[in-house]
């Protein structure tokens, strides 16, 4: 071995004395090596997801129950307030999409806690890469998987009589990706602090259900009592379910009055919040949570 440390850019150098040994020089840390790290952490999430078909199937069950059983069961009751020709299932479909993404994203983040228990997190944390590339790779991986689950749910749109319009589909996928990213970032941030799997699942379940029920996934945001109205405006999920429902109803042939009633704009003290601002709020939130998650993981030894 000739040199003590590797020079950047030095690739493989043949070593005459150790002809059988392949010399490897690990280069200095650079943007490129951080990108490689992000990419491999992301790819690992996908490989593991592909292996785990059971998980893909089971995480579809809960949203399907909500859509088919709850949607059908309540339609006789809710149908009275639905305009003629509009199924209650159509109304709750955006909420059910959000739900399928919500649970998958949280579960993806839980894999960090899992990795910690089985030791693999250590393999990642001792590597000569920045902690941020590990956290970003994990978050993107979880977001990709969650979006994929959402897309499978989206393929079942016919159950809810939602049209397969390309523009609508692409809009919904984009919004699902945004939601997946933000929720995974939230989960990763929690996983930095919570080291036990059971505790992590219990705590996230406790947070996920209120998020879902307060988002207006199952009811319109009009004519709510004051306390509930305030809580729905605080729930970040509201700002994704609202735009998704807006997109769905924009592609139905309906009287604008009905649309205004069933899919009203989210309002702050009477001011209607534009769609772009809703989505910007969610994106900002996701990036901030990711920032906190990176800081948390960088703090630990």
């Amino acid at each position: 071995m000739a040199t003590q440390t590797a020079q950047p850019g030095e690739a493989v150098t043949a070593d005459a004395a150790l002809a059988t040994q392949i010399r490897v020089a690990v280069p200095q840390r650079s943007l490129r090596s951080d990108l490689r790290a992000i990419s491999i952490v992301w790819r690992r999430e996908l490989i593991r997801f592909r292996r785990d078909r059971l998980r893909a199937v089971t995480s579809l069950i809960q949203p399907l129950l909500f859509l088919v059983v709850l949607g059908t069961g309540l339609s006789s009751l809710a149908g009275a307030s639905m305009p003629p020709g509009v199924d209650f299932k159509t109304f709750i479909f955006p909420g059910v999409l959000a739900m399928s993404v919500l649970f998958t994203a949280v579960f993806s983040a839980a894999s960090i806690v899992w990795d910690r228990e089985f030791g693999f997190l250590r393999e990642m944390l001792v590597a000569p890469v920045s902690r941020s590339s590990i956290v970003i790779g994990k978050t993107l991986g979880g977001a990709t998987i969650a979006t994929f689950q959402g897309v499978i749910m989206l393929a079942l749109a016919w159950i809810a009589h939602v049209p397969y319009n390309p523009v609508l589909i692409l809009t919904l996928i984009g919004e699902l990706l945004l939601l997946s990213f933000t929720i995974t970032a939230f989960g990763v941030m929690m996983a930095a602090r919570i080291t036990q799997f059971q505790a992590f699942m219990a705590l996230t379940q406790m947070l996920v259900f209120p998020l879902f029920f307060l988002s207006g996934a199952l009811y319109p945001l009009t004519g709510l009592p004051g306390w509930l109205s305030v809580l729905t405006r605080i729930d970040p999920l509201t700002y994704v379910v609202g735009p998704m429902r807006h997109a769905v109803f924009a592609h139905l042939d309906l009287n604008p009055l009905f649309v205004a009633h069933l899919s009203p704009s989210i309002t702050w003290l009477g001011w209607p919040v534009p769609i772009w601002l809703c989505l910007a709020i969610v994106a900002t939130m996701g990036l901030s949570l990711l920032g906190v998650a990176i800081a948390e993981f960088s703090r630990t030894e």
Binding site: V24, R36, R51, P128
Partner: protein
């Protein structure tokens, strides 16, 4: 390195100096406290390049803490340490690029194949793309896992997993390989096969190996060992030199009345004996010559006798006053206490 002089006696023009071979590891005045518990209390040593250096001691003696500091996983409270000439605190990333780690507990992903685990490692350590495949083949061949590379790690036995971890630790061609209790939890046959791989590795790669162990027989594989007890190094030398320094045979007897036997040994023979591993234990210059006298003069009935040449066990005992197994038993309470504190801090 000899300096050349020409016939006139005048100094020769400076020859192209071979690159200096600084020690692979230097440690000076190192301490580490967890709260008010002193895990490491001021240790100094150096490990030469190419050396296999063992840290021997019971659990809780400070072995794992020291290895963690050298691997940049813990910061020293005071003192300084360098690995491959790089400071473990100020040049953390550079140290990490130059070391391979095999931990006590497995850090493999069971849901990936052996090859996928290695590829993950290669990407994290930014191994040049062209070198990844050949190097993977080389390290997997070395540990005999090339044929099983596409099997999920969850189907590997404990010994295979440890071998895969060793292969992974070597993948980025580190200068120093750290093995923290490399054979703990493995059966004796697997342990000796792991050592075959490590010895082959020493022959094939120019690498320094730093390992911790609490198995005496494993320490024999090292070029030099340091005996650590209660956070301090009590002896450091080659295994042979350490054994020679003890120089006495160890006699262990099982008797009908241990207390009376110890009393009689002290009174009639002037020998200080103690109970270790359930037997009356003492050291004498020549065991073979002493045993007949023992039978002739000891009034307590003797059930069995064993005489052993100095082993590292005796070295350990002569430096610490206890056998490693007895030390383990008393250290386990201390460990639990320490573990509880560390958990509490997180």
């Amino acid at each position: 390195m000899a300096t050349q002089t020409d016939p006139d006696g005048a100094p020769a023009p400076p020859a192209p100096a071979p690159p200096p071979r600084p020690p692979a590891i230097t440690v000076s005045g190192l301490t580490k406290n967890y709260g008010d518990i002193e895990a490491v209390r001021g240790i100094d040593f150096e490990v030469a390049r190419g050396e296999t250096f063992g840290f021997l001691g019971p659990n809780g003696a400070g072995k794992s803490t020291t290895i963690k500091i050298l691997c940049t996983l813990a910061r020293p409270t005071t003192g300084r340490a360098t690995v491959a000439g790089l400071d473990v605190v100020s040049q953390r990333d550079a140290v990490r690029r130059n070391i391979g780690l095999v931990f006590q507990d497995t850090t493999l992903d069971n849901y990936l194949t052996g090859a996928q685990n290695l590829r993950f490692h290669a990407e994290l350590y930014a191994v040049p793309a062209a070198a990844v495949e050949p190097r993977m083949r080389q390290v997997l061949d070395m540990v005999g896992l090339w044929d099983r590379r596409d099997s999920l790690v969850s189907t590997y036995s404990g010994g295979m997993q440890r071998r895969l971890e060793i292969a992974r630790g070597l993948l980025h061609a580190p200068h120093v390989l750290f093995l923290d209790e490399p054979t703990v939890g493995l059966d004796p046959q697997t342990r000796s096969s792991i050592w075959e791989y490590i010895n082959e590795l020493k022959a094939r790669e120019d690498i320094t190996i730093f390992l911790t162990t609490h198995y005496m027989d494993e320490a024999e594989h090292c070029d030099r060992i340091a005996i650590i007890d209660h956070g301090k190094i009590v002896a450091i030398d080659t295994p042979e030199a350490l054994k020679a320094s003890v120089g006495k045979d160890r006699v262990q007897i099982q008797t009908g009345d241990d207390a009376a036997a110890i009393k009689e040994l002290a009174g009639d023979f002037g020998i200080e004996a103690g109970i270790h591993e359930g037997a009356v234990t003492f050291s004498v210059e020549s065991g073979e010559q002493f045993v007949p006298q023992l039978f002739a003069r000891l009034s307590v009935p003797i059930r069995s006798v064993s005489v052993s040449r100095p082993s590292l066990d005796d070295v350990f005992m002569s430096y610490t006053g206890t056998t490693i197994r007895d030390a383990e038993a008393s250290a386990s309470d201390h460990m639990r206490q320490m573990a509880a504190r560390i958990r509490g801090r997180r």
